[in-house]
Protein backbone atom coordinates (compact mmCIF):
# COMPACT_ATOMS: atom_id res chain seq x y z
CA UNK A 1 0.00 0.00 0.00
CA UNK A 2 1.26 3.43 -0.96
CA UNK A 3 0.49 6.43 1.23
CA UNK A 4 0.07 9.98 -0.01
CA UNK A 5 3.06 10.97 2.09
CA UNK A 6 5.20 8.60 -0.01
CA UNK A 7 4.36 10.60 -3.11
CA UNK A 8 4.44 14.18 -1.94
CA UNK A 9 7.97 14.85 -3.14
CA UNK A 10 7.49 13.10 -6.45
CA UNK A 11 6.68 14.89 -9.68
CA UNK A 12 3.73 13.92 -11.88
CA UNK A 13 6.08 12.42 -14.46
CA UNK A 14 7.77 10.29 -11.77
CA UNK A 15 4.39 9.11 -10.53
CA UNK A 16 3.38 8.15 -14.06
CA UNK A 17 6.55 6.09 -14.42
CA UNK A 18 6.01 4.47 -11.03
CA UNK A 19 2.30 3.84 -11.71
CA UNK A 20 3.21 1.83 -14.78
CA UNK A 21 5.26 -0.46 -12.53
CA UNK A 22 3.05 -0.44 -9.45
CA UNK A 23 -0.67 0.36 -9.68
CA UNK A 24 -0.71 1.64 -6.09
CA UNK A 25 1.26 4.73 -7.10
CA UNK A 26 -1.61 5.66 -9.36
CA UNK A 27 -3.62 6.38 -6.24
CA UNK A 28 -1.31 9.32 -5.47
CA UNK A 29 -1.72 10.66 -8.96
CA UNK A 30 -5.51 10.42 -8.77
CA UNK A 31 -5.58 11.98 -5.33
CA UNK A 32 -3.49 14.88 -6.60
CA UNK A 33 -6.01 15.67 -9.36
CA UNK A 34 -9.26 14.51 -7.79
CA UNK A 35 -10.39 17.87 -6.43
CA UNK A 36 -9.34 20.13 -9.33
CA UNK A 37 -10.77 17.77 -11.94
CA UNK A 38 -14.00 17.30 -10.02
CA UNK A 39 -14.30 21.06 -9.80
CA UNK A 40 -13.54 21.53 -13.50
CA UNK A 41 -15.96 18.84 -14.66
CA UNK A 42 -18.63 20.26 -12.44
CA UNK A 43 -18.17 23.78 -13.77
CA UNK A 44 -18.17 22.48 -17.31
CA UNK A 45 -21.14 20.17 -17.04
CA UNK A 46 -23.23 21.15 -14.07
CA UNK A 47 -23.92 17.49 -13.37
CA UNK A 48 -25.01 16.23 -9.99
CA UNK A 49 -22.60 14.68 -7.53
CA UNK A 50 -23.32 11.06 -8.50
CA UNK A 51 -22.87 11.69 -12.21
CA UNK A 52 -19.75 13.71 -11.51
CA UNK A 53 -18.20 10.87 -9.54
CA UNK A 54 -19.05 8.40 -12.32
CA UNK A 55 -17.45 10.64 -14.93
CA UNK A 56 -14.37 11.27 -12.83
CA UNK A 57 -13.91 7.56 -12.21
CA UNK A 58 -14.17 6.85 -15.94
CA UNK A 59 -11.70 9.66 -16.61
CA UNK A 60 -9.19 8.16 -14.16
CA UNK A 61 -9.57 4.74 -15.75
CA UNK A 62 -9.10 6.24 -19.22
CA UNK A 63 -6.01 8.08 -18.02
CA UNK A 64 -4.62 4.88 -16.55
CA UNK A 65 -5.23 2.97 -19.79
CA UNK A 66 -3.47 5.70 -21.73
CA UNK A 67 -0.56 6.30 -19.35
CA UNK A 68 1.92 5.10 -21.96
CA UNK A 69 0.72 7.85 -24.25
CA UNK A 70 1.80 10.57 -21.83
CA UNK A 71 4.59 12.59 -23.36
CA UNK A 72 6.98 14.16 -20.87
CA UNK A 73 7.43 17.22 -23.03
CA UNK A 74 3.91 18.22 -21.97
CA UNK A 75 2.65 19.13 -18.54
CA UNK A 76 0.87 16.15 -17.03
CA UNK A 77 -1.86 18.46 -15.76
CA UNK A 78 -2.60 19.59 -19.34
CA UNK A 79 -2.74 16.00 -20.49
CA UNK A 80 -5.09 14.81 -17.75
CA UNK A 81 -7.28 17.91 -18.14
CA UNK A 82 -7.51 17.18 -21.86
CA UNK A 83 -8.76 13.66 -21.24
CA UNK A 84 -11.21 14.90 -18.61
CA UNK A 85 -12.42 17.67 -20.90
CA UNK A 86 -12.90 15.41 -23.93
CA UNK A 87 -14.63 12.70 -21.96
CA UNK A 88 -16.97 15.15 -20.21
CA UNK A 89 -17.92 16.88 -23.45
CA UNK A 90 -18.52 13.55 -25.19
CA UNK A 91 -20.72 12.39 -22.31
CA UNK A 92 -22.69 15.61 -22.40
CA UNK A 93 -23.24 15.19 -26.13
CA UNK A 94 -24.25 11.58 -25.70
CA UNK A 95 -26.82 12.50 -23.15
CA UNK A 96 -27.86 15.45 -25.32
CA UNK A 97 -27.75 17.29 -22.10
CA UNK A 98 -26.89 20.94 -22.17
CA UNK A 99 -25.11 22.56 -19.32
CA UNK A 100 -27.17 22.95 -16.23
CA UNK A 101 -27.40 25.73 -13.76
CA UNK A 102 -24.26 25.77 -11.72
CA UNK A 103 -23.79 27.23 -8.31
CA UNK A 104 -20.45 28.97 -8.50
CA UNK A 105 -18.80 30.02 -5.33
CA UNK A 106 -17.62 33.55 -4.78
CA UNK A 107 -14.00 32.48 -4.84
CA UNK A 108 -14.36 31.54 -8.49
CA UNK A 109 -15.83 34.86 -9.32
CA UNK A 110 -13.02 36.66 -7.56
CA UNK A 111 -10.56 34.65 -9.63
CA UNK A 112 -12.16 36.04 -12.72
CA UNK A 113 -12.40 39.54 -11.43
CA UNK A 114 -8.87 39.71 -10.11
CA UNK A 115 -7.34 38.27 -13.25
CA UNK A 116 -6.37 40.36 -16.25
CA UNK A 117 -10.00 40.20 -17.24
CA UNK A 118 -11.06 43.84 -17.35
CA UNK A 119 -14.30 43.42 -15.52
CA UNK A 120 -13.80 45.87 -12.72
CA UNK A 121 -15.75 48.43 -14.62
CA UNK A 122 -18.49 45.95 -15.32
CA UNK A 123 -18.68 44.96 -11.74
CA UNK A 124 -19.32 48.57 -10.94
CA UNK A 125 -22.54 47.95 -12.81
CA UNK A 126 -23.70 46.46 -9.54
CA UNK A 127 -24.66 43.19 -11.09
CA UNK A 128 -24.83 40.70 -8.33
CA UNK A 129 -22.66 37.65 -8.30
CA UNK A 130 -25.49 35.31 -9.10
CA UNK A 131 -26.44 37.17 -12.27
CA UNK A 132 -22.86 37.38 -13.49
CA UNK A 133 -22.37 33.68 -12.91
CA UNK A 134 -25.58 32.92 -14.73
CA UNK A 135 -24.32 34.92 -17.68
CA UNK A 136 -21.02 33.04 -17.74
CA UNK A 137 -22.92 29.81 -17.49
CA UNK A 138 -25.14 30.74 -20.41
CA UNK A 139 -22.21 31.29 -22.81
CA UNK A 140 -21.58 28.74 -25.56
CA UNK A 141 -19.38 25.86 -24.45
CA UNK A 142 -16.34 26.96 -26.48
CA UNK A 143 -16.29 30.30 -24.63
CA UNK A 144 -17.26 28.91 -21.28
CA UNK A 145 -14.47 26.31 -21.34
CA UNK A 146 -11.74 28.86 -22.04
CA UNK A 147 -13.06 31.15 -19.31
CA UNK A 148 -13.04 28.25 -16.87
CA UNK A 149 -9.54 27.14 -17.75
CA UNK A 150 -8.07 30.63 -17.81
CA UNK A 151 -9.80 32.34 -14.94
CA UNK A 152 -10.97 29.56 -12.64
CA UNK A 153 -8.25 26.94 -13.07
CA UNK A 154 -5.56 29.52 -13.74
CA UNK A 155 -4.12 27.79 -16.80
CA UNK A 156 -1.84 29.73 -19.11
CA UNK A 157 -2.37 29.96 -22.86
CA UNK A 158 0.02 27.10 -23.66
CA UNK A 159 -1.76 24.81 -21.19
CA UNK A 160 -5.18 25.73 -22.56
CA UNK A 161 -3.84 25.11 -26.05
CA UNK A 162 -2.66 21.64 -25.00
CA UNK A 163 -5.90 20.84 -23.17
CA UNK A 164 -8.24 21.92 -25.95
CA UNK A 165 -5.85 20.91 -28.78
CA UNK A 166 -6.12 24.32 -30.38
CA UNK A 167 -3.37 26.72 -31.53
CA UNK A 168 -2.37 29.35 -28.95
CA UNK A 169 -3.56 32.11 -31.27
CA UNK A 170 -7.00 30.54 -31.45
CA UNK A 171 -7.09 30.25 -27.65
CA UNK A 172 -6.28 33.96 -27.36
CA UNK A 173 -9.02 34.79 -29.85
CA UNK A 174 -11.55 32.65 -27.99
CA UNK A 175 -10.68 34.26 -24.67
CA UNK A 176 -11.05 37.75 -26.14
CA UNK A 177 -14.36 36.86 -27.73
CA UNK A 178 -15.54 35.29 -24.49
CA UNK A 179 -14.63 38.48 -22.62
CA UNK A 180 -16.43 40.63 -25.18
CA UNK A 181 -19.47 38.41 -25.12
CA UNK A 182 -19.57 38.50 -21.36
CA UNK A 183 -19.24 42.28 -21.37
CA UNK A 184 -22.05 42.60 -23.91
CA UNK A 185 -24.30 40.33 -21.91
CA UNK A 186 -23.60 42.41 -18.81
CA UNK A 187 -24.43 45.58 -20.73
CA UNK A 188 -27.68 44.01 -21.86
CA UNK A 189 -28.45 43.06 -18.33
CA UNK A 190 -27.67 46.56 -17.16
CA UNK A 191 -30.00 47.96 -19.81
CA UNK A 192 -32.67 45.63 -18.59
CA UNK A 193 -32.68 43.51 -21.73
CA UNK A 194 -33.89 40.08 -20.99
CA UNK A 195 -31.50 37.33 -21.89
CA UNK A 196 -31.89 33.58 -21.89
Amino acid sequence: MIYISDCEQKTDAELVRLSLKNQDYYYCLMKRYEAPLMNYIYKLSGLNRTDLEDILQEVFILVYQNLNDYNRSFKFSSWIYRIAHNYTVSQLRKKAQGTQNISWDEHDLEQIVQSDFDLEENLALKINYHNLLSIIDSLPLKYKEVLLLKFVDGKDYQEISDILRKPIGTVGTLINRAKNMLTQEIEKHKAGVKYD
Binding site: L20, Q23, D24, Y26, Y27, M30, K31, E34, M38, E53, L56, Q57, F60, I61, Y64, Q65, N66, L67, N68, D69, N71, S161, R165, K166, P167, I168, G169, T170
Partner: protein, 242 residues
Protein backbone atom coordinates in the same frame (compact mmCIF):
# COMPACT_ATOMS: atom_id res chain seq x y z
CA UNK B 1 -17.42 11.57 1.51
CA UNK B 2 -16.54 9.05 -1.17
CA UNK B 3 -12.87 8.48 -1.88
CA UNK B 4 -13.16 8.26 -5.67
CA UNK B 5 -9.46 7.66 -6.12
CA UNK B 6 -9.54 4.69 -3.78
CA UNK B 7 -12.64 3.28 -5.44
CA UNK B 8 -11.11 3.73 -8.88
CA UNK B 9 -7.91 1.96 -7.86
CA UNK B 10 -9.94 -0.94 -6.51
CA UNK B 11 -11.92 -1.10 -9.74
CA UNK B 12 -8.71 -1.06 -11.78
CA UNK B 13 -7.38 -3.96 -9.75
CA UNK B 14 -10.63 -5.90 -9.69
CA UNK B 15 -11.26 -5.57 -13.41
CA UNK B 16 -7.57 -6.02 -14.19
CA UNK B 17 -7.43 -2.84 -16.23
CA UNK B 18 -4.05 -2.50 -17.89
CA UNK B 19 -2.39 0.45 -19.62
CA UNK B 20 -2.29 0.08 -23.39
CA UNK B 21 1.25 -0.74 -24.56
CA UNK B 22 3.57 2.04 -25.64
CA UNK B 23 3.95 0.59 -29.14
CA UNK B 24 0.21 1.08 -29.68
CA UNK B 25 0.53 4.85 -29.27
CA UNK B 26 3.79 5.05 -31.20
CA UNK B 27 2.25 3.13 -34.09
CA UNK B 28 -0.76 5.42 -34.07
CA UNK B 29 1.46 8.50 -34.13
CA UNK B 30 3.70 7.08 -36.87
CA UNK B 31 0.60 6.16 -38.86
CA UNK B 32 -0.50 9.79 -38.93
CA UNK B 33 2.99 10.89 -39.97
CA UNK B 34 3.08 8.22 -42.66
CA UNK B 35 -0.30 9.32 -43.98
CA UNK B 36 0.91 12.92 -43.82
CA UNK B 37 3.93 12.08 -45.98
CA UNK B 38 1.84 9.95 -48.35
CA UNK B 39 -0.84 12.57 -48.91
CA UNK B 40 1.82 15.27 -49.32
CA UNK B 41 3.44 13.19 -52.09
CA UNK B 42 0.01 12.62 -53.68
CA UNK B 43 -0.59 16.36 -53.42
CA UNK B 44 2.77 16.84 -55.17
CA UNK B 45 1.66 14.53 -57.97
CA UNK B 46 -1.61 16.46 -58.32
CA UNK B 47 0.31 19.74 -58.44
CA UNK B 48 2.72 18.30 -61.01
CA UNK B 49 -0.19 17.12 -63.15
CA UNK B 50 -1.74 20.58 -63.02
CA UNK B 51 1.58 22.02 -64.23
CA UNK B 52 1.90 19.34 -66.91
CA UNK B 53 -1.62 19.73 -68.29
CA UNK B 54 -1.52 23.52 -68.16
CA UNK B 55 1.85 23.62 -69.89
CA UNK B 56 0.71 21.10 -72.49
CA UNK B 57 -2.05 23.45 -73.59
CA UNK B 58 -1.43 26.30 -76.05
CA UNK B 59 -2.89 29.54 -74.81
CA UNK B 60 -2.44 31.53 -78.03
CA UNK B 61 -4.92 29.63 -80.21
CA UNK B 62 -8.19 30.25 -78.42
CA UNK B 63 -9.30 32.69 -81.14
CA UNK B 64 -9.21 29.78 -83.61
CA UNK B 65 -11.83 28.15 -81.43
CA UNK B 66 -13.99 31.26 -81.55
CA UNK B 67 -13.93 31.87 -77.80
CA UNK B 68 -12.53 34.53 -75.46
CA UNK B 69 -9.45 34.01 -73.29
CA UNK B 70 -11.46 33.87 -70.02
CA UNK B 71 -13.72 31.22 -71.53
CA UNK B 72 -10.66 29.34 -72.82
CA UNK B 73 -9.25 29.35 -69.27
CA UNK B 74 -12.55 28.14 -67.78
CA UNK B 75 -12.72 25.32 -70.33
CA UNK B 76 -9.08 24.36 -69.97
CA UNK B 77 -8.50 24.29 -66.19
CA UNK B 78 -7.62 20.79 -64.98
CA UNK B 79 -10.51 20.62 -62.51
CA UNK B 80 -10.00 16.95 -61.72
CA UNK B 81 -6.45 17.55 -60.50
CA UNK B 82 -7.33 20.78 -58.74
CA UNK B 83 -10.05 18.95 -56.79
CA UNK B 84 -7.62 16.11 -56.04
CA UNK B 85 -4.98 18.61 -54.88
CA UNK B 86 -7.45 20.27 -52.51
CA UNK B 87 -8.58 16.86 -51.28
CA UNK B 88 -5.01 15.76 -50.56
CA UNK B 89 -4.26 19.07 -48.85
CA UNK B 90 -7.27 18.55 -46.60
CA UNK B 91 -6.22 14.97 -45.76
CA UNK B 92 -2.67 16.21 -45.12
CA UNK B 93 -4.06 18.81 -42.72
CA UNK B 94 -6.24 16.20 -41.00
CA UNK B 95 -3.28 13.87 -40.50
CA UNK B 96 -0.99 16.62 -39.32
CA UNK B 97 -3.32 17.92 -36.62
CA UNK B 98 -3.69 14.37 -35.32
CA UNK B 99 0.03 14.03 -34.67
CA UNK B 100 1.16 14.76 -31.10
CA UNK B 101 1.77 18.47 -31.55
CA UNK B 102 0.09 19.17 -34.87
CA UNK B 103 -2.83 21.00 -33.24
CA UNK B 104 -0.46 23.78 -32.18
CA UNK B 105 -0.31 25.13 -35.72
CA UNK B 106 -3.01 27.20 -37.40
CA UNK B 107 -4.93 25.82 -40.34
CA UNK B 108 -3.59 28.50 -42.68
CA UNK B 109 0.03 27.72 -41.69
CA UNK B 110 -0.41 23.97 -42.22
CA UNK B 111 -2.31 24.55 -45.47
CA UNK B 112 0.31 26.94 -46.90
CA UNK B 113 3.17 24.69 -45.84
CA UNK B 114 1.52 21.63 -47.39
CA UNK B 115 0.84 23.58 -50.58
CA UNK B 116 4.46 24.73 -50.71
CA UNK B 117 5.80 21.20 -50.24
CA UNK B 118 3.31 19.87 -52.82
CA UNK B 119 4.36 22.62 -55.23
CA UNK B 120 8.07 21.80 -54.81
CA UNK B 121 7.43 18.08 -55.23
CA UNK B 122 5.10 18.76 -58.15
CA UNK B 123 7.72 20.88 -59.86
CA UNK B 124 10.22 18.06 -59.35
CA UNK B 125 7.84 15.45 -60.78
CA UNK B 126 7.12 17.70 -63.74
CA UNK B 127 10.76 18.64 -64.31
CA UNK B 128 11.92 15.02 -64.42
CA UNK B 129 9.07 13.97 -66.71
CA UNK B 130 7.28 11.74 -64.19
CA UNK B 131 4.00 13.57 -64.74
CA UNK B 132 4.18 12.63 -68.42
CA UNK B 133 4.60 8.98 -67.43
CA UNK B 134 1.68 9.25 -64.99
CA UNK B 135 -0.49 10.94 -67.60
CA UNK B 136 0.30 8.21 -70.12
CA UNK B 137 -0.35 5.49 -67.54
CA UNK B 138 -3.72 6.98 -66.60
CA UNK B 139 -4.78 7.33 -70.22
CA UNK B 140 -3.76 3.75 -70.99
CA UNK B 141 -5.19 2.13 -67.87
CA UNK B 142 -8.17 4.18 -66.79
CA UNK B 143 -11.05 4.20 -69.28
CA UNK B 144 -12.64 7.61 -69.57
CA UNK B 145 -9.72 9.49 -67.99
CA UNK B 146 -9.16 11.47 -71.19
CA UNK B 147 -12.76 12.71 -70.98
CA UNK B 148 -12.07 14.19 -67.55
CA UNK B 149 -9.05 16.25 -68.56
CA UNK B 150 -8.95 18.94 -71.22
CA UNK B 151 -5.56 18.10 -72.64
CA UNK B 152 -3.42 19.41 -75.43
CA UNK B 153 -4.62 16.44 -77.45
CA UNK B 154 -8.25 17.45 -77.04
CA UNK B 155 -7.40 21.07 -77.71
CA UNK B 156 -5.59 20.31 -80.98
CA UNK B 157 -7.78 17.53 -82.32
CA UNK B 158 -10.29 19.90 -83.87
CA UNK B 159 -9.57 19.76 -87.63
CA UNK B 160 -12.91 21.38 -88.47
CA UNK B 161 -11.69 24.45 -86.57
CA UNK B 162 -8.26 24.34 -88.19
CA UNK B 163 -6.30 22.57 -85.46
CA UNK B 164 -4.61 19.22 -85.89
CA UNK B 165 -2.05 17.25 -83.89
CA UNK B 166 -0.14 14.06 -84.55
CA UNK B 167 3.12 12.32 -85.44
CA UNK B 168 4.90 12.69 -88.75
CA UNK B 169 5.01 9.35 -90.59
CA UNK B 170 6.60 10.34 -93.87
CA UNK B 171 7.84 13.50 -95.59
CA UNK B 172 7.85 14.23 -99.30
CA UNK B 173 9.83 17.48 -99.61
CA UNK B 174 9.61 17.54 -103.41
CA UNK B 175 5.78 17.68 -103.13
CA UNK B 176 5.77 19.89 -100.02
CA UNK B 177 3.59 17.33 -98.31
CA UNK B 178 3.87 15.06 -95.34
CA UNK B 179 1.84 12.20 -93.91
CA UNK B 180 0.66 12.53 -90.38
CA UNK B 181 -0.95 10.08 -88.03
CA UNK B 182 -3.22 12.08 -85.75
CA UNK B 183 -3.72 11.39 -82.05
CA UNK B 184 -6.71 9.19 -82.82
CA UNK B 185 -4.80 7.04 -85.30
CA UNK B 186 -6.20 8.59 -88.51
CA UNK B 187 -3.78 9.35 -91.38
CA UNK B 188 -3.71 12.79 -92.95
CA UNK B 189 -1.99 14.27 -95.96
CA UNK B 190 -0.61 17.67 -95.05
CA UNK B 191 0.26 20.38 -97.54
CA UNK B 192 2.99 22.50 -95.93
CA UNK B 193 3.98 24.52 -98.99
CA UNK B 194 2.89 27.78 -97.36
CA UNK B 195 3.47 26.85 -93.73
CA UNK B 196 5.95 28.48 -91.38
CA UNK B 197 7.61 26.60 -88.58
CA UNK B 198 7.35 27.74 -84.96
CA UNK B 199 9.53 26.34 -82.21
CA UNK B 200 10.83 23.67 -84.53
CA UNK B 201 13.75 23.87 -86.98
CA UNK B 202 13.02 21.00 -89.30
CA UNK B 203 10.47 18.31 -89.98
CA UNK B 204 11.38 14.67 -89.53
CA UNK B 205 9.56 11.36 -89.16
CA UNK B 206 8.43 10.38 -85.64
CA UNK B 207 8.32 13.99 -84.51
CA UNK B 208 5.09 15.08 -82.87
CA UNK B 209 3.72 18.31 -84.28
CA UNK B 210 0.72 20.57 -83.99
CA UNK B 211 -0.70 22.26 -87.04
CA UNK B 212 -2.81 25.37 -87.56
CA UNK B 213 -4.44 25.48 -90.96
CA UNK B 214 -7.49 24.45 -92.85
CA UNK B 215 -9.19 21.16 -93.54
CA UNK B 216 -9.68 21.09 -97.31
CA UNK B 217 -11.06 17.57 -97.65
CA UNK B 218 -11.42 14.36 -95.71
CA UNK B 219 -7.91 13.54 -94.42
CA UNK B 220 -6.41 16.43 -96.33
CA UNK B 221 -5.16 19.50 -94.46
CA UNK B 222 -3.40 22.64 -95.57
CA UNK B 223 -0.91 23.85 -92.95
CA UNK B 224 -0.33 27.51 -92.22
CA UNK B 225 1.78 27.03 -89.11
CA UNK B 226 3.54 23.96 -87.78
CA UNK B 227 4.78 23.94 -84.22
CA UNK B 228 6.34 21.42 -81.92
CA UNK B 229 4.20 19.70 -79.36
CA UNK B 230 4.75 21.23 -75.95
CA UNK B 231 5.63 19.67 -72.63
CA UNK B 232 7.32 16.32 -72.85
CA UNK B 233 5.21 15.08 -75.72
CA UNK B 234 7.63 16.30 -78.34
CA UNK B 235 10.48 14.15 -77.14
CA UNK B 236 10.97 11.35 -79.62
CA UNK B 237 10.10 7.99 -78.20
CA UNK B 238 8.60 9.37 -75.01
CA UNK B 239 5.05 9.28 -76.22
CA UNK B 240 4.24 7.43 -79.36
CA UNK B 241 0.51 8.07 -79.22
CA UNK B 242 -2.36 8.45 -76.84
Amino acid sequence: MTDISKETLEKIKKEQVQPKPRWYFLTKNYFYWLMFVLTTVLGGIAFGMIMFITDDLDWDIYHYLGISLPKAIIISLPYLWIILLLFFLFITYYNFIHTRTGYRYRLVVIFCLSLLISALLGFGFYHYGWTDTIDRGLRDRIPGYHHLVYSGQKQWMQPEKGLLSGTIIEIKPEENTLWLEDDLGQKWQIDFSQAHLKGITSLAPNVKIRIIGQKLAEHYFKAEEIRASRGFHQRPGRRKQY
